[in-house]
């Protein structure tokens, strides 16, 4: 089969089984767009801004486990995509981003719409490739998907000069069946001796904790994690990225840990003697001040990426390997060896945890007069039976969504945890909806975040993507305001937004449905009505309490045992 470079590119996407490409055309990719036009298999979703394309592909990937694919033009097309590429990079999301480049002979001449896409993206990709001839395209694409989806996943950029995709040069096409790279060999199984040592240590624990993260979702090992946790009977906490790997409604789950984690999760960490850390990276938002982190614990850390191990926190038993393989091995060892921790110790530990739980660190003050954002999230969870795909933006609403929506299944909670990218939620929700058209998809956002990629309401209209937007509108950059209240004596520097659009009219102008909800009594009814409109994007603008804060909170320089609690903690139910 003889094809042009542009056709080869699209054919290789077909051969990779790609369903959707999220992109935006421009000069350098016109040959590729022509190849897209002349086939049906790969569907192109035209976004309104390249950042939106990356977040859509990202959301699609997080909801399915498949790589997300993006196509953008050179210059501003590539630079606009960078925020989304960095977002995927920090959360280890497999994506392949194709950037057009100016014609090869013009490279380096400051040609129109020329930017060094390889140089610009280098610090925020897993790897990037510059295509050097049309003959290389198929192999590079194969390598790009291989690198993006294996080991610790991540985004891979492929930069292709325009002339290499031109229709007049036809070359034989064959998509490589496999790929080998001498400089890239992702690990699989963990060291057997280390795994054995870990299991032995777990059996000696008196006050154990299991700390899980996004790696569990990436490696599809939530079943193994659940079995292992239940076999051991130890408390399980999760990072923001790992929510849903272990069911939130299970009795062994003690909630999220870290800066806005629960009292019981954080104190459990602080007081544990054996910590099993799986698919996590000891991020600063999780550990608090590392000097105070788990002062009494022997730490077992399982991760596929050796650089995650002992990066921020020293580890006693490091295990580099695919979680699925390692957790399976642990289960086998536990089945062979009946030694377990002393049940009395574990019972004592649980009763301590129950005491901490009784503090009710997530209790908030309810109100009949003003809508509490936490209440809205609880109702969203109820109305969707806890089974929706929930995307979020970044800030207070993100934390409330993480705290009050109970995720029982993996890949339901989709947010920008590492980079903290405002503007992520709406486009990510659209990507999720394409992947799961029959499921409820809701974007929990705030009036500030939503405006960062608001233009994608138009994409939703074009492709008929009826997601639900829950806008927790407090007329503040809420998290900024909260920090200013706590740390800057209430000097609210540039954190108030007083020129907001009428979101109802705005939604209606795109032929979506807009709702404004101002009374607590109307919250549930509005949500039920909105979720009943299966074919419509409904934008719900909830006017919420302006001064509500996210609790508990670990402030800068503090440890897990130094949480700032709700001022009325203990009185609230």
């Amino acid at each position: 089969m003889e094809l042009s470079g542009g056709e080869i590119l699209i054919q290789s996407l077909q051969d990779e089984g790609v369903e959707y490409v999220f992109g935006y055309p421009g000069g350098a990719v016109l040959h590729i767009y022509d190849a897209i036009f002349r086939q049906q298999q790969v569907k192109h979703i035209l976004v309104r801004h390249e950042q939106g394309a990356t977040h859509m592909a990202d959301g699609y990937s997080r909801a399915t486990g498949k790589p997300g694919v993006v196509l953008v033009t050179s210059g501003p097309g590539a630079t606009n995509a960078i925020t989304g590429i960095a977002t995927a990079h920090l959360d280890s999301i497999p994506m392949v981003i194709i950037t057009g480049q100016v014609t090869s002979k013009y490279i380096g001449t400051d040609a129109f719409q020329e930017v060094d896409a390889i140089g610009c993206t280098r610090p925020c990709v897993k790897h990037n490739f510059m295509v050097k001839s049309p003959e290389e395209i198929a192999t590079v694409m194969k390598k790009a998907f291989y690198v993006a989806t294996t080991g610790r996943p991540g985004p891979v950029v492929v930069d292709i000069p325009k002339d290499f995709t031109a229709p007049n040069v036809k070359i034989p096409y064959e998509y490589p069946t496999d790929v080998s790279m001498r400089s890239y060999a992702p690990v699989s199984g963990g060291h057997v001796g280390q795994v054995r040592k870990a299991v032995e240590l777990l059996a000696q624990a008196k006050q154990p904790m299991i700390y899980t993260g996004g790696g569990v979702l990436m490696s599809e090992s939530h079943q193994e994690l659940r079995k292992l946790s239940q076999e051991l009977g130890y408390p399980v906490t999760s990072t923001l990225m790992g929510l849903g790997a272990y069911p939130a409604s299970d009795k062994q789950f003690v909630g999220m840990l870290g800066m806005h984690g629960t009292y019981e999760a954080n104190l459990g960490m602080h007081n544990c003697d054996v910590l099993l850390a799986v698919g996590v990276r000891f991020d600063d938002r999780v550990t608090g001040e590392v000097e105070h982190f788990c002062p009494n614990a022997k730490i077992i850390h399982v991760d596929i990426d050796p650089t995650s191990i002992a990066k921020n926190v020293g580890v006693d038993i490091p295990i580099v390997g695919d979680l699925k393989v390692v957790l399976t091995r642990m289960l086998e060892l536990l089945a062979q060896d009946s030694r377990r921790a002393n049940p009395e110790d574990i019972a004592k530990w649980w009763s301590q945890i129950e005491e901490w739980k009784a503090v009710k660190s997530l209790a908030y003050e309810s109100s009949d007069t003003v809508i509490k954002p936490q209440y809205v999230v609880e109702k969203v969870c109820e109305v969707t039976n806890g089974d929706a795909y929930v995307t979020s933006d970044v800030g207070q609403h993100q934390m409330w969504a993480a705290q009050y929506y109970k995720f029982d299944e993996p890949r339901r909670w989709i947010n920008s945890g590492g980079l903290g990218t405002m503007g992520f939620g709406l486009p990510a929700a659209l990507g999720v909806k394409l992947a799961h058209p029959e499921s409820d998809v809701v974007c929990i956002t705030g009036e500030a975040s939503i405006q960062m990629c608001l233009q994608e309401l138009s994409t939703a209209l074009q492709y008929g993507l009826p997601v639900k937007v829950v806008n927790l509108n407090n007329r503040y950059l809420g998290m900024v305001r909260q920090w200013q209240e706590f740390q800057y004596e209430g000097r609210y520097s540039s954190s108030y937004v007083d020129a907001l659009p009428d979101f109802v009219k705005l939604a209606e102008s795109y032929n979506h449905v807009g709702m404004k909800i101002e009374n607590p009594a109307d919250v549930e009814g509005a949500l039920k009505e909105a979720f009943a409109m299966k074919d419509k994007l409904v934008f719900m603008d909830f006017l919420t309490d302006q001064t509500e804060n996210v609790y508990p909170m670990i402030e800068a320089g503090k440890g897990h045992h130094q949480m700032r609690m709700h001022p009325k903690v203990g009185e609230l139910s």
Binding site: I118, R122, K126, M181, R182, S183, Y184, P306, A310
Partner: protein
């Protein structure tokens, strides 16, 4: 933890951009880099780089792990962990007017230097060896006499059978 100097040797794909990935890693993560040398090997598809860096044990462990993670890096070894040779080459241009010529020549001989260029008023002396020896020669010549110094940065190799091969 104490900070010590390490010589890390790596084989990387001889591709455009692979050097900037290595250099970028050091600036991006705030690691020290004292010198970096790179050139193709007898296998033209591979380049060999030598990096001199410093840090405590944990930092050095992270540096080697992060380098290994770069897709273009094929193999690497921390030479400092075992017996090795780590040399650099220096060319130094010194003022050598009539009365001082002999003294400078003698100094060069002591350090096993080679005079590779001579004019009426200058010498260029080429010197190879470990970095301390080069530093010491610079000191011995003295700032007054020095016109220019150019150093290659350290290149290193393990002693004996141990080696870095694909």
């Amino acid at each position: 933890m104490s900070v010590s100097k390490h010589v890390v040797s790596l084989l990387l794909e001889n591709e455009s951009g692979s050097l900037s990935r290595v250099a970028g890693l050091f600036s991006m993560r705030g690691y020290n880099i004292e010198s970096l040398t790179v050139a193709p090997t007898n296998d033209p598809t591979l380049s060999r780089a030598t990096i001199v860096t410093s840090g405590d044990d944990r930092t050095i462990e992270q540096i080697t792990k992060q380098l290994n993670k770069l897709v273009d890096v094929v193999r690497l070894v921390d030479l400092t962990e075992a017996a090795h040779v780590a040399h650099e080459m220096m060319m130094i241009k010194v003022r050598a007017p009539g009365p001082q010529r002999e003294e400078i020549q003698r100094l060069s001989d002591i350090y096993k230097g080679k005079i590779v260029d001579v004019t009426e008023s200058t010498f260029v002396i080429e010197l190879t060896g470990d970095s301390d020896k080069l530093d010491s020669f610079i000191k011995a010549v003295g700032d007054e006499q020095i016109l220019e110094v150019v150093r290659s940065g350290v290149t290193g190799i393990a002693r004996g059978e141990r080696g870095l091969k694909v």
